[in-house]
Symmetry: C2
Subunit: 295 residues, 2 copies
């Protein structure tokens, strides 16, 4: 969890706090209280924003959480918490949407109005901007579920309940199962690490490991097909790729760009694929345009 | 081609003219001139609208056409044609978008503001309404390419240039290839008609033909996965299914509805699947709300 104080000049102060995959939200709020109180003493604070990995309303209702993470969040009245503890208004948004706002304000998508962001991390998070406005939809989940369009209609069951989602066919949480499946298809007796990650896949592939190259190419193909699907769905001019897996951007960006050039159906030219620039600060920086929209 | 005169009371007059798969637009315009002149003599006409099977601007520029159909359209100045021949303004829209406007005005999606329409015909056409407005996007193609999100990232090449699109894995134009592929997988020596259509598939399947049931179930699964992808992409409350293939709605609606119930990831409940009500009149009726928006 990254927490920061944002002003006209950008990020004024920051702290990080570790979050485990099974974290609950209530204990984290106590940590937040401590640090936000520290900020609030030293600044003329206008509002608190939270970038949350799930489906949320702007006024602080958590409608859906990632499986196993912050599962207590839907039962917490976060607006009341912000008001009672600090006398401040709370403004929340989905984490990929906040990262998109940040990349548009000061990162890879400056001066762009029609953008899809794809965050390759534990899962695959997405957000969409059309004509300069975040796409949110009737139940606040439009644009956020780009990792859950199908890559293989007869593929594996995704944690979302759908079948063969991009996230189920190529993401960190599914990587062990993907590698086991590709391994079973051939290649003799290659030992697999028990918890495979993409850093290992890309490093070993670059060092000439043919099985890891097979895993890498499978995932690059799934991401590419999914991104072409998002281009067809949302008609962007720019696609921004971010998230922890982008530590291997040097191998990802050329492969996906080439796939887009070959396979995207766009009468006007091809959308440009760009690596995210702001890393874990994107959501913090996205707080600024979000506040300008909401305050 | 269906052409009609629309007034406050709905469709006042209609004629149909056959269009072949390889038709050019210029000869059709002469047919249109004849009939529009007939209408215009008897009515106080305000504008001409054309519902076109491709990507178009509202003021009459054809940006992209279906392969082989109306290939001369991008070179024709349709706004000038309407003005010179009739002194009328031209307003154009994609055919699935016009059908969606029609179904919202007087069909299966009355009083709905967040709707995806999926037209199962020769290909798979789609259109999207969010918060009561058609989704159009930066280059006018958002929402129209729902038949071109992937169903199988390692599937067959689609006529759009992408791989494994819903339309390439389950549509009338791809049906022969799909059946040959499923046939090669097993089932002995079943003879196939040279140009298979969905009416035959559904009829023979209902009569107990196990191979046709295999083809049918393959296509129902692809459509269902694609529709769940569209639900995840656009967050609708209602999905309308139309197009010629819906002559077998009695077999399609229950199968796809059940798939949505089991697999759509929607925190708020499940979107309702409805059969289109207006058939080939949907686009004509859609002209009325389109005119209200544009005049």
């Amino acid at each position: 969890m990254r927490c920061g104080l944002i002003g006209h000049e950008g990020i004024l102060s920051v702290f990080d706090h570790p979050v485990s995959p099974k974290s609950r939200l209530a204990p984290l709020l106590q940590v937040l209280e401590h640090h936000v109180a520290g900020f609030a003493r030293n600044a003329d604070c206008r509002a608190i924003t939270i970038s949350f990995p799930g489906i949320v309303t702007r006024d602080g209702k958590v409608l859906s959480t990632p499986r196993g993470k912050f599962e207590d969040a839907p039962d917490i009245d976060l607006a009341a918490w912000a008001n009672e503890r600090f006398g401040l208004r709370l403004i929340m948004e989905n984490d990929a949407r906040m990262a998109l706002l940040g990349e548009c304000a000061a990162g890879a998508a400056q001066n762009c109005t029609d953008v899809v962001i794809v965050m390759l991390g534990t899962g695959v998070g997405t957000a969409v901007m059309i004509h300069g406005a975040l796409l949110r939809g009737a139940h606040v989940q439009a644009g956020c579920l780009g990792g859950h369009i199908p890559a293989r209609f007869d593929g594996r069951l995704c944690i979302c309940g759908a079948i063969g989602c991009v996230e189920a066919e190529a993401s960190t949480w599914a990587l062990d199962a993907i590698a086991r499946e590709l391994h079973a298809d051939g290649e003799g007796n290659l030992p697999l690490p028990s918890q495979l990650d993409f850093a290992t896949v890309f490093r070993r592939s670059a060092a000439g490991d043919s099985f890891m190259t097979k895993v890498r190419d499978h995932c690059l193909n799934v991401w590419s097909a999914g991104i072409v699907g998002l281009i067809h769905a949302y008609d962007p001019s720019v696609v921004v790729l971010g998230g922890g897996v982008m530590a291997s951007a040097d191998q990802i960006i050329p492969a996906v760009s080439s796939y887009i050039e070959r396979h995207a159906f766009t009468w006007w030219g091809k959308p440009e694929l760009r690596a995210a620039k702001l890393g874990p600060d994107a959501a913090l920086i996205g707080a600024w345009p979000l506040l300008q929209q909401c305050l």
